[in-house]
């Protein structure tokens, strides 16, 4: 247990080794260190840890920084240009409409039996009650429904997939769009036991992907570093491209109830094309929000 004096000195050791203390304060620390081998060891450890920081040099800024920025500025300004065009088009349309109204007014003046249309499409839709709800328009299933098999969100199709529908619901496109009975809404759809068991569009699960990598040939010990052939979801890089960086090999979205889970997978190869690492990440968010959980 360090003494109070030792604790006081250690709190200033980093500033001491970086020569940031006043002369008096530095002399006091030096005097303590001369008589305290434990604090001297601490000083050595701090010096060793901070040494790389002192040698830290800025890397080379990428050469395409300016080009990328100009492209983004242009993209940022593009909507303004479109708005100008929209205004011009709207102005032209309004002019044409005005002329048409004038002409129509003149014609009606000559046809007294004609009445103005009072059955506009909007009015018809509102009266018939067939307007589309935001939920239906967005193809978001009601709470309690299972995975929504839409073109955008892929539902698991592998036999081993464990995304079981909630009791009382049938995972068909019809139920995905329609509200289920009230009894089925009392409990949300259970989440899958593990994201690793969620299959992608080709029916391959992350767990299968992992096990494929984990298996190694026992007959040839020299080849132990070489990964087994990977499922189609992992794209092997054919041409070596140093330096090795992670490349995206999997990106699947799965909707369960009101939540969307996005699965990302990345792999990294070295210069010789040998697989060095695989990592996955899952982000779950509300279907109507973007909060990552």
């Amino acid at each position: 247990m360090p003494s109070a004096r030792c604790r006081e000195i250690r709190a200033r050791l980093d500033a001491y080794v970086e020569h940031e203390l006043s002369a008096d304060a530095a002399a006091a620390v030096r005097a303590h260190l001369d008589g305290c081998p434990v604090c001297r060891t601490e000083e050595t450890r701090i010096v060793r840890a901070l040494l790389p920081l002192r040698a830290w040099t800025p890397g080379q800024a990428p050469s395409d920084l300016a080009a990328g920025l100009h492209a983004r500025i242009a993209a940022m300004q593009a909507p303004h240009r479109r708005n100008v065009w929209r205004l011009q088009i709207a102005g032209a349309a309004a002019s044409v409409l005005l002329v048409a109204v004038c002409i129509a007014t003149g014609l009606r003046h000559n046809s007294p039996g004609m009445s103005a249309s009072d059955d506009a499409p909007v009015g018809r839709a509102l009266r018939s009650g067939t307007e589309t709800t935001p939920r239906a328009a967005a193809n978001i299933p009601a709470p309690g429904s299972s995975i929504a098999p839409s073109s955008e969100l892929k539902a698991p199709r592998a036999p081993g997939a464990t995304l079981a529908p909630a009791p009382g619901t049938v995972p068909t496109p019809a139920t995905a769009d329609a509200r289920p009975p009230r009894t089925a809404r009392t409990r949300p759809t259970p989440a899958p036991p593990s994201f690793l068991d969620v299959a992608d569009s080709r029916g391959v699960t992350a767990r299968a992907l992992m096990s494929g990598v984990a298996r190694r040939p026992e007959a040839n010990p020299d080849a132990s570093n070489v990964a087994q052939p990977l499922p189609a979801t992992v794209v092997r890089r054919t041409a070596p491209q140093p330096p090795p960086r992670f490349e995206q090999t999997l990106n699947e979205r799965v909707r369960v109830g009101d939540q969307v889970t996005e699965l990302y997978g990345e792999a990294k190869w070295d210069e010789s094309g040998r697989l060095r690492a695989i990592r996955v990440r899952a982000e779950t968010a509300d279907a109507d929000g973007d909060g990552v959980k």
């Binding site: 840890a49 830290w56 800024a61 940022m76 695989i278």
Partner: protein
Amino acid sequence: MTHGHVATLADEDGAAVERFVAGDRAAFDELFQRHSDYVYHIVNGVLADQDLSRDVTQEVFLQVYRSLPGFRRGSKFATWLYRIAVNRAVDAARAVRRRKWTSFTPDLEQRADPSGDPAGRADEQDQSEMVARVMREVPAQYRDALVLRYYREMTTEEMAEVLGCTVTAAKVRLHRARQKFRECYERLYQRDTRA
């Protein structure tokens, strides 16, 4: 020139800002040329990721492009710019930490190092690469102080100006940041420190 925010419209940055606000878009290129490397280094120091740093650096200048018309006269452009860069970088670093990856192949990662010995690795690796690796482990809120002090070699006063805090607060922040860096360094290179 007094410490803090003073009228600096006479300097080159100030003149360029004036021209940009007056409608001269080329003045923005001038500001970019003058500061882009510096901003990139701050951002990359915090993020330790070149691709992400490129994006964030561009976002910093996009924000500058949008905000320059409202830039307060009398403020120092460089300080304002670096503060944006630090804040953007720290935000991006936090976002990266939220998206935690699960590695399935730590053994393969280790095998990438031929010696497998951290001490040997330390000798072989570039020091900056080692720092980048440690920095990725340091909590985002501590990285900015380390970057400004060690990467950009700012004084505590300059740091305080960029970070928007007092000199005392900057010293405390730097002290805690060093502690965190040391913890992460020793965790990553534990065998090295035991030796």
